[in-house]
Structures are given as C-alpha cells and as structure tokens.
Amino acid sequence: MSLLVEMNDKAMKLGIPLSVHLDVTYRCNERCVHCYLDHDDKGEMTAAEIKNVLDQLAEAGVFFLVLSGGEVFMRQDFLEIVEYARRLLFNVKVKTNGVMIHEYEARRLRELGVEQVQLSVYSHRHEVHDAITKLPGSLKRTIDSIRFLKSQGLKVTMSNVLMTVNRGDQAGTHALAKQLGVAYTLDPTVTPKLDGDTSILSLRVEEDNLDELFANPELVGDVEEFCAPPVPPDEDVMEGYSCSAGHTACYINPYGEVFPCVQFPLPTGNLRRQRFADIWYRSPQMQEVRSIKVKDLTVCSTCSHAGTCTRCPGLAYMEGSMRGPSSSDCEKSFHRTGIPSANMLRKAGMASGGSLIQILPMTV
C-alpha cells in the first residue's frame, strides 16, 4: 500500500478533511458550452475572508488544496491568496484556463511552490476549442501559458472533457499534450448546472464513444484489466463508502458555502456565519452523507458493479437521491465491462412493463 493511500485511510478513520477544493471566484473570461456555473459575482469572499478560511482549513488538517473557479486569475489578488496558502504549507494545485498566465504569473507560481497547474484544453484545433470556450484566440493563449509554466519547471496537466462537439479531436488533443510535454486527462462527464438546469447534458457523448474510450490503452492502461467483469462485492465493499466526498474531502464555493464535493450541491453550512470545524463535524447534512455505506444504497447495493463502479453520490443526488444510482456512472460501468448495472436492468424491466411480482403457476 502506498504511503498516500495509507494516509487517506488514516484520514478516513480520523474524520480529517485531507482535501479541499476551493473556488475563489465564479467569474470567468471564457463561456464554455458545458460549464455548470453561473458566472455572475454574487458577493464572493474577500482575500481577508479567504485567508481566514485557509487558517481554519490548516487547523482542521487539510493537506491538499485545489484552487479553482471560474477563472482564478480573474481575481487580482489570486497570487496573494496562493502565497498565503503556501505559507500555511498546503499542497496547492491550481486549475485555470491559462489565458491570463504570462511569464510573471508562471514564475510566481513556481516560486510559491505550487504542486501542479491544470489547464483545460478541449481540442488541438483552434476553431473547435475556441468555439467551446466562446473566446476567440483562447487556444493560442492557453498553449502559450502552458509553455510559460513548463519553462518554469512546473508540473502541468492538460485536462479535456469529451463532448459531442469535440469527440473527433481526442487523439489530436492527446498528441498536443505529448508535444508540449505535459500530462493529459480525459473525462467524459458533463454534469447538470448547479441551478439544476440539465440542458447541457445534451453534450454528453454517445455510447459508441465510451466504448472507443475504454478500449484505448493510452487512456486506460491495461484494457483487459480496466474492462474486466466486476468481482462480486464482498462484506468489506458493502461496509465501505463509494466516495471520499464528506469523508476526507469537501468543496467551498466563492461565497463561503460548504458542500460535500464540487459535484454534490447539498449545502452544509456557510463560512461567513459558521466555523469550518462546526460545519465539517456537526452539520446534519455532512453527517448524513457520511453515514451512507454501500449496503445502504437503494439500488446499487444489489449491483454486481458495487465494488468497482465510479458511482458519484453527487450526481445521484442531482438525479433524485444521494442513496440512489448515478445513471451516467451505470453507463460507464456497462460500457467498460459489457455487463448492465442493477439500475439499468431495473429501468429495462419498468420500460417493458414487467410485473413487480412474478408468480409461477403451480403444477399439480
């Protein structure tokens, strides 16, 4: 077991929030077609408020800190916030579109000891990327910033979201990452907007694209292992938890609201009125999230994928119940292994009008 896994297990047992994702702003200079945020500023925390939050997070034991947005550099005080976070010795990862990063910003991020910078790139073709971000020239500016960051020796990851509008460009985007000498991640997840609007889900790729994705060794490693049929869940799985949200991780938005995860819009408290530790340890919502074991899941507890599924409780929550299934993860499990999930079988049964109770006629 790696040291990091050991530490994560220890944090889980002790109830320590090892990782926090903090969005410092929702403002953005891009208008990505798949973005789940409202970019209007509704009174984001000041630098002083954020520093106070960071003090509380350090005190609570947070080690990994993701600073994201919106676009983080829309805040003129962003580097001041990073500097403060690093003085508190957080492991800091910055998510950005990079279009405002030039030589100075890259150098400061390196001087401050930022662990990693993750930039969003949706295509190697300018016309496709710029159409997604709705910011002309954005791909060029993002690539320029990757070069500035690389020249400083920073670890850079290019992250792509696979959608209907860029599905043909995956290989080219991956090749661009290789050419720039940076890591590459690809995610086929498009989530509903935080206000519940599901219109952007039409950008989700079709099933054929998932099959292709999961059969690509450059993306998944050992395809046979990745696509192996699920092992029947044992007692350890049933007594375990499906995700770190609310257990060792949480999300804070620019207005000080705390959620179990960035993809789990269940409000648990507000740092403008409450201490972080009070929300983390005593919020009824956080405690409820924390109480749910795999065996408590309404459909997934009966599913053969229970031990290997990437089930997101936040997506399940947005679908209707934090104890229910997350259909997009059901689809991923199915396309990965070829074996339908319990939720898919249940839906198919309902669609075919199957009766709830099957009665075998008695033969005399």
């Binding site: 040291l3 002790l14 080690f63 003085r87 957080f90 401050l112 000891g113």
Partner: protein, 105 residues
Amino acid sequence: MPDTYIARSTAIAARMLGGEMMIMSAVDSTFFTLNEVATVIWQAADGRTPLAEIVEQRVCGEFEVEPEVARRDVEQFVSELSRQGILLVSDQPIAEAKPGTAEAQ
C-alpha cells in the same frame, strides 16, 4: 566541532495527521511521513536552535533514549532529509524563509 543548525525547507507541503507529520516535496512530489520522534525534530528545526540542543532537550528529554544512540539516529535522519532537500543544514544559524521569498528558492 562547530554547531549544526537545521531548518525546514519551504519548498514542501506539510501537515500533522494523527500524530504523524506528512510532508510532500514541491520539487519532485516525494511523499514522506515522520514518526513521533522525527516529528519532534522536524518541529524543532527552526534554524536557530543547535542540533545538539534539539537532541538533548527534545529527543532525550521527551523519549527514553541514550544520548549517544539519539545523536547517531538524529544525524542519520537529518542527513536523509537533507539529501531529499526538505531539511536545510548549516554550521551557521539559518534565517527563516517563507514560500515565494528569495531565501526559499
């Protein structure tokens, strides 16, 4: 023999977790955990207190260990962390640095 001074590098991330110190190097992402004794030395590494004093007062004073054994173990520990770049060692007191300042580079 000149005194030896030790100071924590600022090119790291660090946090206590259940009595153990977690440290990650910002240079190469190497991850360390320090046991209870090592954590005491780490916390005492302020750049101003001579290492001999840390051994005598913090290690021998707080743990049941012979001074000679403690000195040898601490030197080995300091040498290892210094090689990894997460502890600075000097025969002069080391000024406190903060991430992003010239001293931290």
